[in-house]
Symmetry: C2
Subunit: 343 residues, 2 copies
């Protein structure tokens, strides 16, 4: 089993790289001068004012700490999602890593196309193909094993367009916003369509969000005892899809409160923002518009930006944001810098 020994060795090495990478990012959670990567302007001002009025005991909009719940989408809101979701890159790499154990994949779709690097061809099979790839790469191991696989993979994964580590393509202004909210007594949660167990192994180090505050899509697990040790085995069956109407459902299941602030970037976040902002008392909704082709990517199609299958932000969502008073962030105008390592 030489291929596996090599992978293990690579994994150990990459765990080290993750450690170094995190140190090298610079003071991501620096405590002074919060929101320093935000340009001064109405957006930053609105954030600061919302936090002030909900935390100042003299304010009529004061909210007690236990109810200061803020939820954040992940892909496209906290880190880059173009040219495809990071979890899709992971699935492709896992198909390649597991291929020696599955000689039949050389000719069997959707795996044959994945192995040839033809992702479009692989996804021609629609949802069924996607689910097959997902289950082949995400199920069949214990939760502890999967955590280790993700941790090791993400330490060296790079974006196919920019060639930069995916962990260096988190949005520095949003990381600052998470920390800023927490310092004001907010509990910050991630609420993503992505896999809950795909995000948990690194979300705390990168975003400061512990595993119990990460909500996402999931597959089923099953309790087993192996040599007297209790484990959970990941099964090839969907459990929950944390997207669109699923986001408020997931929020209620995990948090049990209606958030008072929610942050997203696409039509998949619409219901989460509706849920957060239609409760009583002060409410805050915000959407990131990717209008910065120079520093990141530009896509919508809201505001005439190019259409995108990943992270679609429709004109209808844009219009609803206007109507409900949600703030739409312009990456180009509102962010002084986009990524932690850019100066």
């Amino acid at each position: 089993m030489r291929p596996f020994r090599n992978i293990r060795r690579r994994m150990r090495a990459s765990a080290l790289v993750l450690g170094i990478a995190i140190l090298a990012f610079g003071p991501v959670h620096a405590r002074d001068d919060h929101l320093r990567s935000w340009n001064d302007g109405p957006t930053k001002k609105a954030i600061v004012e919302f936090v002030r009025k909900t935390t100042d005991k003299a304010s009529p909009d004061y909210v007690p700490p236990g109810e200061r719940i803020a939820t954040f989408d992940n892909d496209g809101t906290l880190w880059a999602e173009q040219p495809m979701y990071v979890q899709a890159l992971f699935a492709v790499d896992r198909v390649k890593a597991l291929a020696p154990q599955h000689p039949e994949w050389q000719t069997q779709e959707p795996f044959a196309s994945v192995l040839k690097g033809d992702l479009k061809g692989a996804l021609a099979g629609g949802d069924k193909a996607l689910l097959e790839i997902l289950m082949a790469t995400h199920a069949g191991m214990t939760t502890d094993e999967f955590q280790r696989i993700v941790k090791d993979w993400i330490a060296t994964a790079t974006n196919p367009v920019t060639k930069r580590p995916v962990l260096e393509m988190v949005y520095q202004p949003m990381v600052e916003l998470l920390a800023y909210l927490r310092e004001h007594g907010y509990k910050t949660f991630i609420v993503s369509g992505g896999g809950i167990e795909f995000m948990r192994p690194w979300a705390e180090q990168v975003y400061g969000v512990p595993p119990e505050q990460v909500i996402g899509s999931s597959i089923m697990t099953k309790f087993e005892k192996r040599d007297g040790k209790a484990v959970l085995v990941r099964l090839p069956e969907m459990n929950f899809i944390d997207d669109r109407e699923g986001k408020p459902v997931g929020i209620n299941q995990h948090i049990g409160h209606r958030p008072i602030a929610a942050f997203g970037n696409s039509d998949g976040d619409r219901e989460m923002l509706e849920y957060a902002t239609t409760g009583s008392g002060p409410r805050f909704g915000m959407l990131v518009l990717h209008d910065d082709a120079k520093r990141e990517f530009a896509y919508g199609p809201a505001s005439g930006l190019p259409d995108s299958h990943v992270g679609t932000f429709t004109q209808s969502l844009y219009d609803e944001a206007r109507g409900r008073g949600w703030i739409v962030i312009s990456m180009k105008d509102d962010w002084k810098r986009v990524f932690p390592s850019s100066r």
Copy 2:
């Protein structure tokens, strides 16, 4: 709709009673002299020693704060579950409250038996009857409405045997243990077979455990907009059963770590304790044995105590506890007092 107006009025009154009741309980979360309702002896000593060695940075068993996760069963571990689960009392009262809207229940089982006060007759229909009662009383409203119903009901609910408020039948030593752990950097979670939305409305005031740290069984919910406001409607369909093998699954889904300490009282907690105590590093498992007929109830059948359908603690669980080094609490010997208001 006179009956409903009366219920509403009673609800408002009872919310007030809840407030007073909580104040009257005395200093449930008092910060000095922790564990003062525990007798000095090996059990108390073991708790203090485990907390010391996991929180003392110089200890080889030191555990960083983020991994200090402790999970607690609710029924029979944090409050009394005899002669029947409190949530079953709630269901019975809800059938009575809703009966005027359902004239057909006068003759239709299992409701006819419930209305006659014959619970045994009602449950003769087995799981199907139980599920019918559950769905008729727990579904069909929004999550916000259900929260209000539970909050108002629990404020005046009493135990059918002792006639004391159910909220005064929480175990003072366990409430102190929860607070003691939290003061030492532990995050305390409830992991109960009971309904997640049935516990959340009062768990924070009574146990100091916020809604996002309550895990339990649940029914499905559905996102809807009513007059522009986003709500979640409770559907008459099971979502998740958080009991036995389900407890580790629920823990992983909600917390994403393996707990290092777990507390239960019945065979329903066996897998949770196995999951918590078979990880690496220091681990702590504890089971409450109800052997105090004088101050509470006595049931097992472990240790020759009377058999019970509610909170069954079998000899096989007792033997496993011995084998794995879990501590079995004797209510009679280990607890100085059982309830907050008893002196």
